[in-house]
Amino acid sequence: MISLKGFLRRFFSDPVAIGAGLVLLVLVLMAVLAPFLAPQNPYDLMQLDIMDSEMPPSWKPGGDPRFWLGTDAQGRGVFSTIMYGTGISLLIGIGAVIVQAVLGVTLGLIAGYKGGWIDSFLMRLADIQLSLSTLMMAIIALALFQAAFDANIYADYAIIMLIMVIGIAEWPKFARTVRSSVLGERKKEYVDAARVIGLPPRKIMWGHILPNTLTPVLVISTIQVAEAIMIEASLSFLGLGMPVDRPSLGSLIRSGFEFIFSGSWWITLYPAIVLVALILALNLLGDWLRDVLNPKLRRGED
């Protein structure tokens, strides 16, 4: 168990962690403060002017100082759309992971503690689900949803749908992680001590075992957020994700894709850079977290 002080010390002594942390912090702040900091609100149709469309970044000839990174086909500033888009990507990523975690941890806990046929059943279910690609399942689910409902309804519920679909598709990862922790913890004598007192299984599972299985959950959560954002970006790129008028980073990349060959490369490039930075930062932090929280790699002074 690492102390907070030891944790912070490890963080500030690792340049990779600091770098990734800073990038993530900047992006999160940018997303959260978008309504206040963005030069314009790209979704307020009143602020758009079609004459501003497809302008290159401000330092290039033809650029306009109002739009630092240029504009897209509708005249929206690329920088502003990135700020809002990052927020949506993060929202979906974190939301999906919360759904995965709640579902996965609960099922993993039950499977690990109860054992027997419940465990076998849940793990076979997890196996089946893991063998199906998340992207494929999401495509099927979202395509059906889009076909079944009107485009406007779809736009309103897109975020919820994405969160739920990605969330439900990925619960097995959390379940397996928690289950293997539970199997290890179940053998420990503090669980016997709780049974000797006569605590009911419910209380032992949730009160005693669960808190001791959370460290691996924390580690995979960061990486799962990155993965969820990637999946959402892929879906949006395929046209099944966020609608054009409330774009995430993925949809921004998509909407700019058509314009690469006509010369307006900035519409795709800058959202792509931000997406890569976000996912890289999350992955690096997740890796670092896993190393720090691994008791076997501890150097002993924490």
């Binding site: 002594s13 150097r299 002993g300 002074e301």
Partner: protein
């Protein structure tokens, strides 16, 4: 000239970015050919560290910071990796506590034994096999020919440890270092294994360093004894002499605390406090906070090893309160 001579050995571990802490703080050891030495101490005293250091197995973040380990007339610490491998497993063998960790679970016994043999000797497959069977017979494993093809998990704990001993003896070593070889075994199996080790050492004139926390086992098996505390040797001498008349208060305390030395129904003698971790050693003698005989001198200076005991006020009579 003694076969093995460890001189002023210090092993340090890196702690944090800049500082180091010493796990062994200047240990000396001599061993003659065929002699059996016991190294006794509690966990954290440094006894396993000593064994690993002799075989040059100390890895990052630890290192040997000072001292020499003379095996015959060569300093083992100066040898290249290739040369030390000719010694390790060949002329000095090691037996560890858990045979399931020593033995590779996916290889058969025979494969592991022959691998060891052929790493150190030019020998044909058939000859190696015959030698392995002979060694298994020597350690009293029933039906050795069929056991050669068995896997470690198919054998019981006692048999596995016998296999480990057989492997250690395969290359006819001059010295065997046994680190808690029977701690994980039942008491009747322990007796068998220790009797076996004793017999093999006597018959083949193999020296033994036996590392353990069990004073009874060293009393049965060893000729000389070293008692370690917080990274230093606090008493050394003939086993029988120390057990009957210890000079260092810690040795005396350990012996008095044994249930077999207490009258039935009375409270056991207990040494107050606990051994300090090497990261938080007191000044002067590391034992002084627990010692009833401690004086200001003990708090200020580390006592040197004199007449077998590292103490400024050694016990002279067995009944003195330690």
């Amino acid at each position: 000239m003694p076969m093995l001579e460890v001189q002023d050995l210090h092993v340090a571990f890196q702690q944090g970015r800049k500082s180091e802490v010493e796990a062994l703080r200047g240990v000396d050891l001599t061993l003659e050919k065929g002699e059996r030495l016991g190294v006794v101490g509690e966990s954290g005293a440094g006894k396993s560290m000593l064994a690993f250091a002799i075989l040059n197995l100390i890895a990052e973040p630890g290192r040997v910071s000072q001292g020499r380990i003379m095996f015959h007339d060569r300093n083992l610490l100066d040898l290249s990796e290739r040369d030390i491998r000719a010694v390790r497993g060949n002329r000095i063998s090691m037996i560890f506590q858990d045979p399931m960790v020593t033995l590779n679970p996916v290889l058969s016994i025979g494969t592991q034994m022959m691998e060891t043999l052929r790493a150190h000797r030019r020998i044909s497959g058939a000859e190696a096999r015959a030698l392995c069977i002979a060694k298994l017979r020597e350690v009293a494993i029933p039906s050795p020919e069929s056991r050669l093809d068995a896997y470690p998990h198919e054998l019981s704990g006692g048999l596995r440890q016998r296999v480990v001993i057989a492997i250690a003896l395969l290359t006819d070593p001059e010295l065997i270092i046994a680190d808690e070889p029977t701690t994980a075994l039942d008491v009747t199996i322990q007796a068998e294994i220790m009797a076996l080790i004793l017999k093999l050492c006597r018959e083949n004139d193999v020296a033994l360093i036996l590392i353990t926390h069990d004073l009874g086992v060293v009393a049965e098996v060893t000729q000389r004894l070293m008692i370690m505390y917080a990274g230093k040797c606090v008493e050394t001498g003939a086993t029988g002499a120390i057990i009957n008349a210890p000079h260092h208060p810690y040795s005396a305390g350990l012996l008095r605390a044994l249930p077999q030395n207490a009258a039935r129904g009375t409270r056991l003698y207990q040494i107050p406090g606990a051994m300090p971790p090497i990261t938080a050693l007191p000044t002067g003698c590391a034992y002084h906070p627990r010692c009833a005989r401690a004086t200001a001198l003990c708090k200020a200076e580390i006592p040197p090893l004199e007449n077998g005991a590292a103490c400024f006020h050694p016990l002279t009579a067995p009944e003195e309160v330690p």
